[in-house]
C-alpha cells in the first residue's frame, strides 16, 4: 500500500510540475481560495444522501443486523429487535447502533456482507473496483481501519463462511467462479480452491450460502455467460493479458446451483433449480433456513422473496413466496435468517428499508418490523456506481445505468 501511495504522489508531483509550464488551460490544483475558471459548480445533482441497503446479515446471538451500503460507502449496524420500533414503526428513519464509514475504512462499492458471531467480525465484499474483502470488528464505528483486508478477483459479490471448513467463499461475477480462502486470510493470498468450469454451470454468480448441516453450498446465478470458461483476463479490470479468442456469449436462464461444500474445480452441481416454473428473476442474495429446511432467495427482478425446499431441483415452483403491496418488498438485494426469532430479513434496494418477516410467511403479508435508513417515502435514485450516461433528446431525459 505504501509503495502504491508513494508512486501516486510521484505521479502527482510530476503532473503538477509539467502543468506549471502551460499556457493553454490545463489541469492544475489552485492554491487560492478563489475558484479557478474551470471549477464550475453544477446546476443540478441527482444523488441519494441516505444509506442504500445492498447486502444484509443477522447475528441473532449478539442481537445485531448489519447492512452493506454502497451508496454512502458504509456498513450500518442496527439492534435487530429494537431498530424497527418507536419512531421507525411510524415511518421515521431508524437509529443505527453504529455506522462504519470514511477513507480509512476501505469501504467502497460493497455488495455481500456476512457476520461471524463467534469472532464478532463483519465481512463485506468490495465489488467495484476496489477488489477486496474488508473485515471489521463488531465494535468498529466511524472512520476506522479494518482489522483485515484481503485482495480478491474483480467483481466479488457474495460471501459465505464455514467454521467447519474454516474457509470463506466468494462469488466472482465476470469470472463465473466461486473462490475459497482460508478464513484467516489477510492481505494478498492465493485462494485455497475454486469452483469454476463448464460443468459447474456458474453464470454471473451472486449470492451464496454455506449449509454446514448438510455440507452443501448454494449459489444464485443471473445467467449471463461469456460462452467459454477460461482463467485469464481481468474482466473489466486492467489486464496484462489479451483475450482475443472468440467467446460466444449466452443469456441463460437464472438458477440456484447447489454444490457439495467440498467441491472444487469443474465440479457438477448436486442439484440445479432452473426453469420457467421457478419464477427466478435476477436472484441476488440467498440464505439457508434450517428451521424450514429451505432456500430463501431475494428475487430482485419481480420484487419478491422465493422459498424453495432445500432438496428441490429442476424446473420446480417455489414452496411459497412473499410478494405484493403489503410486503413492502422493493427490488430486494439480500436475505438473512434469524434462527432465534424465526425471521427472514430482506434488504430493499428500491426503498431505504430492511424488512423482517416471520420465516413461515407467505403471500402478501406485512413485515413484522421495518428498519429505515431514511424517512418512509423518501425517493431513491438507486445508483450503483453509474459509469455511463446518455441523453434522450426526444424525451428530454437522462438515462443512467448501474
Amino acid at each position: 500500500m505504501i509503495k502504491k501511495l508513494a508512486a501516486g504522489r510521484v505521479l502527482r508531483v510530476a503532473l503538477l510540475a509539467a502543468l506549471a509550464t502551460l499556457g493553454r488551460a490545463a489541469p492544475r490544483e489552485s492554491k487560492s481560495s478563489k475558484p479557478s475558471p474551470e471549477d464550475i459548480p453544477p446546476i443540478r445533482m441527482i444523488a441519494d444522501p441516505y444509506p442504500a441497503f445492498n447486502g444484509i446479515a443477522v447475528d441473532a446471538a449478539n442481537g445485531i443486523v448489519a447492512m452493506s451500503d454502497p451508496n454512502r460507502k458504509s456498513v450500518v449496524l442496527y439492534d435487530r429487535a429494537r431498530a424497527g420500533q418507536g419512531g421507525a414503526s411510524r415511518g421515521d428513519a431508524s437509529v443505527p447502533l453504529r455506522q462504519i464509514m470514511g477513507p480509512d475504512s476501505f469501504l467502497g462499492m460493497i455488495a455481500g456482507i456476512i457476520l461471524d458471531p463467534r469472532r464478532q467480525e463483519i465481512y463485506t465484499a468490495n465489488n467495484d473496483i476496489e477488489d477486496t474483502v474488508v473485515v471489521m470488528p463488531y465494535g468498529a464505528s466511524g472512520n476506522v481501519k479494518p482489522a483485515r483486508v484481503f485482495s480478491v478477483p474483480h467483481q466479488a459479490w457474495g460471501l459465505a463462511l464455514s467454521d467447519v471448513a474454516d474457509q470463506i467463499a466468494v462469488t466472482v461475477e465476470v469470472q463465473n467462479t466461486l473462490v475459497f480462502y482460508r478464513r484467516q486470510v489477510k492481505g494478498v493470498e492465493a485462494p485455497v480452491r475454486i469452483i469454476r468450469g463448464a460443468d459447474t454451470g456458474l453464470a454471473d454468480p451472486h449470492g451464496v450460502y454455506w449449509d454446514e448441516a448438510h455440507n452443501e453450498i448454494g449459489v444464485a446465478n443471473h445467467g449471463n455467460f461469456r460462452g467459454i470458461v477460461k482463467n485469464r483476463g481481468g474482466g473489466c479490470a486492467p489486464s496484462l493479458v489479451v483475450e482475443n479468442e472468440a467467446e460466444a456469449g449466452e443469456s441463460r436462464p437464472p438458477s440456484i446451483r447447489i454444490f457439495a461444500a467440498t467441491a472444487r474445480n469443474n465440479a457438477k452441481p448436486l442439484r440445479v433449480i432452473q426453469g420457467s416454473r421457478t419464477g427466478l428473476d435476477w436472484p441476488m442474495g440467498v440464505a439457508y433456513d434450517p428451521q424450514h429446511d429451505a432456500i430463501v432467495v431475494a428475487n430482485n427482478g419481480d420484487s419478491s422473496v422465493l422459498i424453495f425446499g432445500r432438496t428441490s431441483g429442476g424446473d420446480v415452483a417455489p414452496l411459497r413466496s412473499i410478494r405484493g403491496g403489503r410486503t413492502g418488498i422493493s427490488r430486494p438485494m439480500g436475505v438473512a435468517i434469524d434462527t432465534l426469532k424465526g425471521e427472514i430479513w430482506v434488504s430493499n434496494w428500491g426503498d431505504h428499508s430492511a424488512l423482517a418477516f416471520d420465516s413461515g410467511a407467505r403471500g402478501n403479508v406485512a413485515p413484522k418490523r421495518t428498519i429505515r435508513s431514511a424517512p418512509a417515502g423518501t425517493p431513491t435514485p438507486g445508483f450503483g456506481n453509474p459509469m455511463a450516461l446518455a441523453y434522450d433528446s426526444k424525451r428530454d431525459e437522462l438515462l443512467v445505468p448501474n
Binding site: 500500500m1 505504501i2 502504491k4 501516486g8 502551460l22 489541469p27 475558484p35 474551470e38 471549477d39 464550475i40 453544477p42 446546476i43 445533482m45 441519494d48 441516505y50 442504500a52 445492498n54 476501505f106 455488495a111 465489488n127 467495484d128 473496483i129 476496489e130 477486496t132 485482495s151 478477483p153 474483480h154 465476470v174 469470472q175 485462494p191 475454486i194 454471473d204 445467467g223 483476463g233 473489466c236 486492467p238 489486464s239 489479451v242 483475450e243 482475443n244 479468442e245 467467446e247 456469449g249 449466452e250 428473476d281 434496494w349 428500491g350 425517493p379 450503483g384 453509474p386 455511463a388 450516461l389 441523453y391 434522450d392 424525451r395 428530454d396 431525459e397 437522462l398 438515462l399 445505468p401
Partner: protein, 301 residues
C-alpha cells in the same frame, strides 16, 4: 454491484430524485458493467452492452420494466469479448463497441441482430489498444477517437484490422493519468470524462499474479482527481484540454459517465465517488448552439 438496470430521469431532476421509469428485470437481458450507453435519435432506440454475456442490446427508447430488447447482438461470430462500452455513428449508421479485455473495437451495422459478424474490427499489437472504454466518431473528418488506458488514440473511422493509430493525445499536459472513461463528440471536439481513478487488480482470471505483494490502495482515493476535458479531435501529442470542468466547486472527484445536451448548453457527468449524476450549464462549450432561454433568463423546461 447492485441492481442491473437503466434508470430514466427527467432532465431537470435534482437531489434525491426517483427515476420516472426503469428498464430492469430478467427479460431485459441486462447485466452489470455498463460502461457505455447510447441514444439513437434517428431510430429512437437505446444501445447498451452486456459485458458479462458478450452481448449488445438494443431497446426501444421508451422501454419500461422487464422488457425484452428489440435486438440482441450475441454469439461467436460477433467476436465480442466483455464489451464494456458502445457508441453510435449516426451518419454512417453504425454501432461501435469497446471489447475491453479483447482489446478490440467491433463495428456493427446499427440494425445488426443475433450472431452477426462485425463489419470492421480494429485489433492487434499495432493498434496499441489496451483498456479501451470510450469511443467517439467524427463523421466529417472520418476519425475515430478512443479512450484507451491512459490516453486518447485517434484512428481513421474506416480503419480495419491491425492498424496503428494516426494520432495520440497523451502526456502530462493532458491531465489524463488512468482509465479515461466515457467520451462524446460534438462538432470537431472530443468531450471526455477523465476518471483518473487508479484501478489495480492482482488477479489474472482468478489466479493471483506472481508479482502481487500488497493490497492496492482504494482506487477512489487516488489524490489525482479526475475532470471533464475537451480537445479538438485533430489535436495530437501532449496537449492540454481546450476547456474543462474540474475542482472542488464542481463536485467532480473521479468522473466516469458523460452525456451532452448542446440544445440547452448542458453537460452531464456521473461520478463514482458521489454515486450521483451532476449537470453543468456550460453553453460556452457549444459555441454554435444557443441554449433555449426564456425572457427571464432562465433555461426553458
Amino acid at each position: 454491484m447492485t441492481q442491473p438496470r437503466i434508470a430514466v430521469f427527467a432532465r431537470l431532476a435534482n437531489g434525491d430524485a426517483a427515476p420516472t421509469r426503469l428498464i430492469t428485470g430478467q427479460n431485459t437481458l441486462l447485466g452489470r458493467t455498463i460502461h457505455g450507453l447510447a441514444y439513437n435519435p434517428t431510430r429512437d432506440e437505446i444501445v447498451v452492452p452486456n459485458a458479462l454475456a458478450d452481448a449488445v442490446l438494443v431497446f426501444r427508447a421508451a422501454a419500461a420494466g422487464s422488457e425484452h430488447p428489440l435486438r440482441v447482438i450475441e454469439g461467436p461470430h460477433t467476436l465480442l469479448v466483455t464489451p464494456h462500452a458502445v457508441s453510435l455513428d449516426l451518419r454512417n449508421q453504425e454501432i461501435l463497441v469497446a471489447s475491453l479485455t479483447g482489446r478490440r473495437i467491433n463495428v456493427f451495422r446499427w440494425d445488426a441482430n443475433g450472431d452477426a459478424a462485425p463489419v470492421r474490427l480494429i485489433e492487434g499489437p499495432k493498434t496499441e489498444l489496451g483498456h479501451v472504454v470510450g469511443l467517439a466518431v467524427d463523421p466529417e473528418r472520418n476519425l475515430l477517437a478512443v479512450a484507451n488506458t491512459h490516453e486518447i488514440l485517434i484512428f481513421n473511422r474506416t480503419d480495419n484490422g491491425d492498424v496503428a493509430p494516426r494520432g495520440r493525445i497523451a502526456g502530462p499536459k493532458t491531465g489524463i493519468t488512468d482509465e479515461p472513461w466515457q467520451m462524446e463528440f460534438y462538432k470537431g471536439r472530443i468531450f471526455l470524462a477523465a476518471s483518473n481513478h487508479f484501478h489495480q487488480n492482482l488477479y489474472d482470471g482468478v489466479t493471483l499474479r506472481p508479482d502481487a505483494t500488497d493490497v492496492p490502495d482504494d482506487p477512489w482515493l487516488n489524490p489525482i482527481l479526475g475532470f471533464m476535458g475537451i480537445w479538438n479531435i485533430t489535436d495530437n501529442g501532449d496537449v492540454a484540454p481546450l476547456a474543462m470542468i474540474r475542482g472542488p466547486f464542481s463536485g467532480l472527484i473521479h468522473p466516469v459517465g458523460l452525456a451532452l445536451n448542446p440544445k440547452d448548453g448542458e453537460v452531464y457527468v456521473s461520478d463514482s465517488v458521489k454515486n450521483g449524476v451532476l449537470g453543468f450549464l456550460v453553453p460556452q462549450f457549444f459555441p454554435q448552439e444557443k441554449p433555449n432561454v426564456n425572457s427571464d433568463g432562465r433555461q426553458s423546461k
